[in-house]
């Protein structure tokens, strides 16, 4: 399609204008508001005890969720890619389910299962509190991040096929040896990509945690919950901007990592 120069220019202006008023300008304003009085106020705002414990809790959740998702995600991907069993389609659909469920609905479902009046409410009588404490937050985060590792690893497993694995087995390698020497090296960039997505989503989860966490400052408040509570409850707009800037920087870092890992993956595939 031969477009005239003026048409091309008009379309470009509309596209860039839309992105500017929706993304770029609002982002720039937040960065500006955070740093308009220099770095000092920002540093003070993100080193308060409440903020530090929020950072620690966010990181703790990531540290618990990532290994679980990696191990069980790879097992599920292997089962789906290499196994033949009835109901494979159902398992595929269940893996994709978290993408289609609203985060708030995730939170409500967890309360109805693990809460005091829920199906597993009996646990509370034995002193095991799930809802309004760390286990509930971890369960919520696993729910929303569950598809990432599986969905990044499974297509790679299909692509590489199982000839090399067969060959290794024929030569007498055990299952573990085959996995460590053949399968894992082949899927590593897909796995890393899945982990990056998992970390980003885990740090950013908000809806499910609002319902499940209770958000007690210093106890069950993650970074995202801190942003919201500073803005809504404390009317501390600057504090909310500062905490949001921390999360925004992490998101930009994620984006960089995603681009980098993708380049590696593409060059590996060639």
């Amino acid at each position: 399609m031969e477009t005239r120069k003026s048409t091309k220019l008009t379309l470009r202006v509309i596209a860039l204008g839309y992105l500017a008023i929706l993304l770029a300008v609002p982002l720039a304003i937040i960065f500006w508001r955070t740093f308009e009085h220099g770095f000092g106020p920002f540093r003070d705002s993100v080193t308060t005890p409440a903020c530090q414990s929020a950072v620690q809790l966010s990181l703790l959740i990531v540290a618990i969720v990532v290994p679980i998702n990696v191990v069980l995600g790879v097992v599920t991907a292997l089962a789906l890619a290499r196994g033949k069993f009835p109901g494979r389609g159902v398992v595929q659909a269940v893996v994709d389910l978290p993408f289609a469920v609203s985060p708030v609905v995730v939170g409500v479902s967890l309360i109805l299962l693990w809460g005091v009046h829920g199906w597993f409410g009996g646990l509370a009588e034995h002193g095991i509190r799930v809802i309004f404490s760390l286990p509930g937050m971890v369960l919520a985060t696993i729910f929303v991040t569950l598809p990432f590792v599986v969905r990044e690893v499974e297509p790679v497993l299909h692509e590489i096929g199982d000839e090399q694995e067969q060959a290794a087995a024929t030569l007498g390698a055990s299952r573990w040896q085959t996995f460590w020497r053949i399968t894992l090296p082949a899927i590593r960039w897909g796995l890393v990509y899945g982990v990056v997505l998992t970390v980003a989503r885990a740090l950013g989860e908000f809806g499910a945690l609002t319902v499940v966490a209770g958000g007690v400052p210093g106890k069950s408040q993650t970074l995202t919950l801190l942003v919201s509570s500073r803005y809504v409850d404390d009317r501390n707009t600057f504090g909310a901007y500062s905490a949001a800037t921390v999360l925004m920087s992490l998101a930009l870092l994620t984006l960089l990592l995603m681009t980098f890992v993708n380049r590696r993956r593409e060059s590996n595939a060639r």
Partner: protein, 293 residues
């Protein structure tokens, strides 16, 4: 920058793109048990994991919503406040999906067919809403459209604010589904049509649009499904005024706060039904389109 294109599709469009990956695995497999697999133990572990994390909570949700029978479920989602929030959520999501179809196609077109300095940066920016926490999206929009707006445009607690927040978080879907199709489209057909005297409008309607249709549909469907369940980006800027700017997820969160779990579960189930049926339609239409090719 093809890398970025596949990347967004992989994580966001997984429900729809799962079908397209099928043919890769469809080749003769030996009858022996697959050696690289995890065996029955691994399958069992995976099943238990998925059940415990995903299925059991959702089962508890559905069972709670039926606690007072199907009539109770129906009553809970048709009380005026619940009905209002569900209708508003669906309408606003339709608007958002439609805007995305138009603007998303336009942005994808500019990114594929146009050349300008800084294009790589713009292309990378498209993925930002996926990487950015939703609550940060809310804060970011408040910067320009909130009480301290530098252009004196305070949209807080208005319907346009809800639309804006949803447009922010759904931006990548249509762009990232249309972009790769636009790249692969056969320029020769367009050139042939042009040499036969077809105008740009005709070329776009007769050649480009039909080729884009499946991608557009899938992008719009994903954007709709995301918008229907969105919470974090709307929560600060939308205001959550009952029967006005309150979206369904806000309503559900409030029902839990005031300790009405049956009502929360009922509206949750309605929300799930809406997004599942949209994704199911996408899957069926997508499978049909794949068969035709």
């Amino acid at each position: 920058m093809t890398a970025d294109v596949t990347l967004a599709l992989d994580d966001a469009a997984a429900p729809a793109s799962a079908d397209t990956r099928g043919p890769v695995s469809r080749r003769p497999q030996s009858l022996r048990a697959p050696v690289g697999g995890v065996g029955p133990v691994g399958l069992g572990v995976a099943t238990i994991w998925l059940s415990l994390i995903v299925l059991l909570p959702l089962a508890a949700l559905v069972s709670k919503s039926f606690e007072k029978g199907p009539g109770g479920l129906w009553d809970a989602i048709t009380v005026p406040s619940a009905r209002a929030t569900l209708i508003f959520t669906v309408l606003v999501s339709v608007v958002v999906a439609l805007v995305n179809v138009v603007v998303g196609t336009l942005i994808a077109w500019v990114l594929v067919r146009d050349e300008f300095p800084g294009k790589g940066l713009v292309n990378a920016l498209i993925d930002l809403p996926f990487a950015l926490p939703t609550i940060v999206a809310s804060i970011v929009l408040l910067g320009l459209y909130g009480p301290r707006s530098p252009i004196n445009l305070n949209l807080v607690a208005t319907k346009p604010a809800v639309v804006l927040a949803l447009l922010f978080v759904t931006l990548p879907f249509v762009v990232r589904t249309v972009q790769p199709v636009l790249m692969e489209i056969d320029a020769e057909a367009e050139e042939a049509a042009a040499s036969l005297g077809a105008s740009n409008v005709v070329i776009f309607r007769r050649i480009v649009l039909p080729a884009l249709a499946p991608a557009l549909l899938s992008g719009a469907g994903l954007a709709f499904a995301r918008a229907v369940g969105e919470f974090g980006s709307v929560v600060l800027i939308g205001g959550g005024i009952p029967r006005d700017t309150e979206v369904a997820s806000q309503y559900i969160a409030k029902q839990i706060e005031v300790d009405r779990p049956v009502s929360a579960a009922a509206v949750s189930v309605a929300l799930l039904a809406i997004s599942f049926s949209v994704l199911l339609i996408l899957r069926v239409v997508g499978a049909r389109a794949a068969k035709r090719h």
